[in-house]
Symmetry: C2
Subunit: 573 residues, 2 copies
């Protein structure tokens, strides 16, 4: 490819809203162009990367006997009503009426379509296990798209669906897929990625893993143990805490005036937050007057995801005004209006003496003890893990890192096959609902993740496996006939040997060429100039290490081919 | 691929609404499954065909220096307002509001997105000509989807956009693309296809060609000359007719009573339809009381597409009731209410003596002569060509065939670059709007076209270039150990040699296997049985010719590889 013809403009400035490195660099290199919020066009280099990532994903899916299919982007309401998701998914799903007034939607995921396709076709246990997958455009109307390709509304995704006779068979396949995901991320050149247990959310099912790239710009919080392998998404990470030491005290009403925050009250009473009880009020989503009060230890925060699981309802921050019996700033578990839903975090269970709100203005209790004063209370794990907390596995110290989700896998169970009435004839003559797994990877997210992790202040550093071109030839002084003929000869020889080559055919200064090459990030740069040709040489620079070597012109093709091959082999190993 | 594991069910019966061969066969072979009207899922064999067709298209586009990009499926209203198409395109374009209330749409075509991408990036004439293309999902809310993959609402399409400095450069590139389209259709195995000039419709621009597969199930009418190369879509085909011979007569009012149709009036007056003047009334779309009357010779029909071009308004059939001055059944050009828009077809211009409506009940005129009685009348070509009419090029006889549109190319001109203000710096220092071409092929339509043309009563006959598998191995008596080991050995040897192989591993009767093989239509069938192995042979059958040969088992791999190669070479030549 001749750079002068490439529809891809390099710029010094990134778009104003580009805050993170991958967004800045992919924009500045001209790989992406925004069309609307969270909606991008991709130019040729980006689309070539996307194609190479898709090819790697296909290889790994086919190696697991996956059958590539294609589901529709637009689906009818009825299909999604069969699984009861049409009404339960919120406004992130685009719904519209077609010209005949029928309700349609844009697919964000394709469990229903997968069951619809497999239903009746797969009729015997002998056809199981079976996996179908597609690579296709999805639209998810994110409230807050951001970070270039990190969180978009329209994206290309590989989604796979497996069907099994037994839970054991699903588990076996699930962990094969788990391994395939590790291979895929390694092959596309990612380095600091991990798997973590996750919440299966709207997908249904129980066991699920997210694959996370650890990066400070990630918007997910990940809990990791410094001593053992334990790691989990903040949403599901278990919070293990020793009860703080303190003597039991007598339950006693104390005047606390206008002091309402944990800090104020503890300050006034000369106590510590971990010896107080914090009340966090939520409103049940969709209900105008139902509130839920979550109680955690004063030094902790409520983990909404865990709370929702406990109460099996969706909640939002309470904005006050409706429920008159709640005295904000003085709420406590003791003598609270019994009509209110309350949840106690297990961090409170063994504290001997707690400061709690007295449910009346200007007063708190001190010396509260759940075991003694409210022996019937049930405790749940609803607190957010804090850095430094105890690992629930080994007791080691936990740390918290940010991460970007780069893939996820779910053991779905029979949620969809049951609701959509897909049955298969078993070996014993009885019909059963196949057990499903589903497995997703976003292609654009993968590109952004590579750009985020593999780059420096000058630009992208693309892995050999997914770089749009393996080699970027920068001839200096193309007006020199020898340079021109040797450079174009090398270009043709490399292309004909199956190497992907970008050729900077512009008559611009060396600095401009080098800056563009650094920014675009092809793995190998070849400089060919009057100076290098004076000794019949070319200069080869490896983008990732910045290592530079002069080699004989006549050896250039073989040397480059061998660098390409060894790097491809290393990543694909 | 093992057939027992393939998620693809062969059936005897097609869906009730399947009326045409390609729909019936693709459904019966299990290649497609309907999700909603005009919306299908594709199983693995169909998706593999789609992938092979896409690879051929990519090769041909890349050979024309095309740069593969990706535009979004969902676009914002503003982008389509910049070309003024947001409001001019009807309900076939899906519009919806996103969660923030912004107007969005689903792309049916991507001229706006192409100009948006290229704008500012392509800034100099030296970057031209330039072509970008994508292969992607589109949604067009067809009022009447039909015929399986023939006319769907959601489809995968290759759409390409080229940008040029001069009209000459566009033309040169346009005809290169024209040739590439011929190569693509030939390579995917189509036979009876032609190019025809077409109306550029909503795309804007002037010169346009459609590529048509000639097939009786096509819904387009194509006019072809039996003597020369002339062919055109009915919408634009020119109608050349000699005036029927007859003497001039005197203009005379005659009583025709309740006779209103051409047949009735000509019968009563003992004349011929070609000596009468037919009036067809249309209502202007969107206007409640504006009518247009088109006059053609009594033996002809009005071509609405040509009429719309003349009056530059969209029209629909007139349903009466509004305009009081029109006397249906007695409408004529003479003394008609001058406020009504009228268009005269050129077939009327040279007729010496016409029967025309008298614009009052129960009366017609005879002996009307436009040149004498309405010398100021202008004539346009608004008549539909009839079979047997004269070729406008050579005067030969025209015939009419049905066709399916399998691709289209347009010389767009500057419609989009002007309205979207894309300018490029010229060699002479002045800025100009690049001149565009655009070029589309539907991938699913191509699959349906092959299925329609290349099939027999038993099933599909897939071309080697796009068949999901080159070879379909049917081992008979897999319970026989020799058959089993030889068959699986052949399967592995062929797969390892790079041949795509489908292996029928089911324990079913020979007839079931053969019927499925015929229905699915892989190019080569290999039968391996106790009988064939008794003489160390296998039987190879070519699906297209039904030619069958026994060959030595040890030669099977080489023989099959050579058949595959020669057939690929023939089609790709």
């Amino acid at each position: 490819m001749l750079l002068s013809k490439l529809v891809c403009e390099r710029t010094k400035e990134a778009p104003q809203d580009a805050k993170i490195k991958s967004h800045i660099l992919l924009s500045r290199a001209g790989f992406i162009k925004q069309v609307a919020g969270g909606i991008f066009s991709m130019t040729m280099p980006c689309q070539k990367m996307s194609g190479k990532i898709q090819a790697i994903i296909r290889q790994e899916m086919d190696a697991l006997d996956g059958q590539e299919v294609l589901f529709p982007v637009v689906m009818p309401r009825e299909l999604w009503e069969s699984s009861d998701r049409y009404n339960t998914i919120g406004s992130e799903m685009v719904r519209f009426k077609d010209r005949c007034g029928r309700d349609m939607l844009l697919g964000m995921t394709h469990e229903e379509a997968a069951v619809h396709l497999a239903n009746h076709i797969v009729s015997s246990y002998a056809q199981l296990p079976m996996m179908i997958y597609q690579i296709q455009t999805k639209f998810r109307d994110e409230a807050r798209s951001r970070g270039g390709l990190i969180r978009v509304r329209e994206f290309t995704m590989k989604d796979a669906y497996s069907f099994h006779e037994t839970k054991e068979d699903l588990e076996e396949y699930y962990y094969k897929m788990f391994d395939a995901y590790y291979r895929i991320f390694k092959r596309i050149g990612l380095k600091r990625f991990i798997d973590i247990k996750s919440d299966s959310g709207m997908m249904g099912g129980s066991v699920a893993h997210e694959f996370m790239l650890l990066t400070e710009v990630g918007e997910d919080s990940i809990v990791l143990c410094n001593h053992c392998d334990y790691r989990a998404n903040m949403e599901v990470a278990e919070c293990e805490l020793s009860a703080p030491e303190c003597e039991s005290g007598q339950l006693q009403l104390v005047y606390t005036g206008e002091d309402k925050t944990i800090e104020q009250v503890c300050g006034r009473l000369n106590s510590k937050p971990e010896l107080s009880c914090k009340a966090v009020v939520f409103a049940v989503k969709g209900s105008s007057d139902e509130v839920v009060i979550a109680f955690v230890r004063g030094d902790l925060e409520v983990n909404e995801a865990k709370l929702k699981k406990v109460i099996r309802k969706d909640v939002v921050a309470y904005e006050g005004g409706v429920n008159q019996t709640v005295v904000c700033g003085n709420i406590g578990p003791y003598q609270l209006d019994s009509k209110i839903t309350v949840v106690y975090d297990k961090s409170l269970e063994n504290v001997n003496s707690l400061i709690i709100g007295a449910n009346k203005p200007e007063y708190h209790y001190v010396g509260f003890n759940f075991k003694r004063d409210m022996p019937d209370a049930n405790f749940y794990d609803i607190a957010k893990v804090k850095a430094g907390a105890k690992c629930p596995v080994c007791g080691g110290e936990l740390r918290i890192e940010n991460g970007i989700e780069i893939g996820n896998i779910f053991q779905l169970g029979t949620k969809y096959t049951k609701s959509m009435d897909m049955t298969v004839h078993g070996a014993n003559g009885e019909n059963f609902n196949p057990i499903m797994g589903c497995y997703g990877i976003g292609v654009g997210r993968a590109i952004a993740s590579v750009a985020q992790e593999s780059s420096d202040e000058k630009g992208l550093i693309l892995p050999m496996t997914i770089a749009p071109w393996h080699v970027h030839i920068c001839p200096l002084r193309l007006d020199d006939e020898t340079v021109s003929s040797k450079a174009y000869e090398l270009y043709d020889l490399l292309k004909n040997s199956g190497t992907d080559v970008l050729f900077d055919d512009r008559n611009v200064a060396a600095g401009v060429k080098f800056n563009d090459a650094d920014l675009m990030g092809m793995p190998i740069r070849v400089v060919i100039s009057p100076k290098s040709l004076a000794t019949d040489e070319v200069e080869i620079t490896i983008r990732s290490t910045r290592e530079s070597n002069k080699i004989a012109y006549r050896d250039a093709v073989e040397t480059i081919k061998s660098i390409v091959k060894s790097e491809l082999d290393r990543l694909n190993a």
